[in-house]
Symmetry: C2
Subunit: 95 residues, 2 copies
């Protein structure tokens, strides 16, 4: 799946249920076959929570996890220091 | 891999580098072929950080990620309320 498509949901600081609803809407209203849930750093735990709630509760028996990958990005922060941040990408697919 | 073997590293509140060192020791000193890194809740992000640092830096070209699974557990907390917590299990293998 390409980055930046409408099927990507990037987990951040919005209210938790916004993201769960986002996943549900992609699969139901928008008829997506796959949805990519992405997160960085401390939001990785939250991404897993969102996916678990969607798969086990809201879209139970309708979607499943297709693939999970983790990676890390390197960037220079405001203080000019080199920083690593971990990332996760979870691909969900309709069953 | 069975739970509770010596090859499991459960990520919690200890200093971050303890866990990275734990992974390295399993593969080097103890000669493990596989190591399981596990975490629950907010420690999931930390588990990913530990794995990324081990794979990309400390044991670069020596280990790789074999499999990643996420799940959730349900339990009753001290206040008698039913609570869900997400979990992650990352299996690392020597190359």
């Amino acid at each position: 799946m390409e980055e930046g498509t409408d099927n990507s949901i990037f987990i951040g600081t919005k209210p938790f249920m916004n993201y769960v609803t986002g996943v549900v809407v992609q699969f139901t209203t928008k008829g997506a076959k796959e949805v990519l849930v992405k997160a960085r750093g401390k939001f990785i735990s939250r991404a897993v929570d969102v996916v678990e709630l969607a798969v086990k509760r809201f879209l139970k028996n309708k979607i499943q996890i297709k693939n999970i990958t983790i990676d890390s990005e390197e960037f220079t922060n405001k203080e000019g220091k080199q920083v690593h941040v971990s990332t996760i990408e979870i691909i969900l697919e309709s069953i």
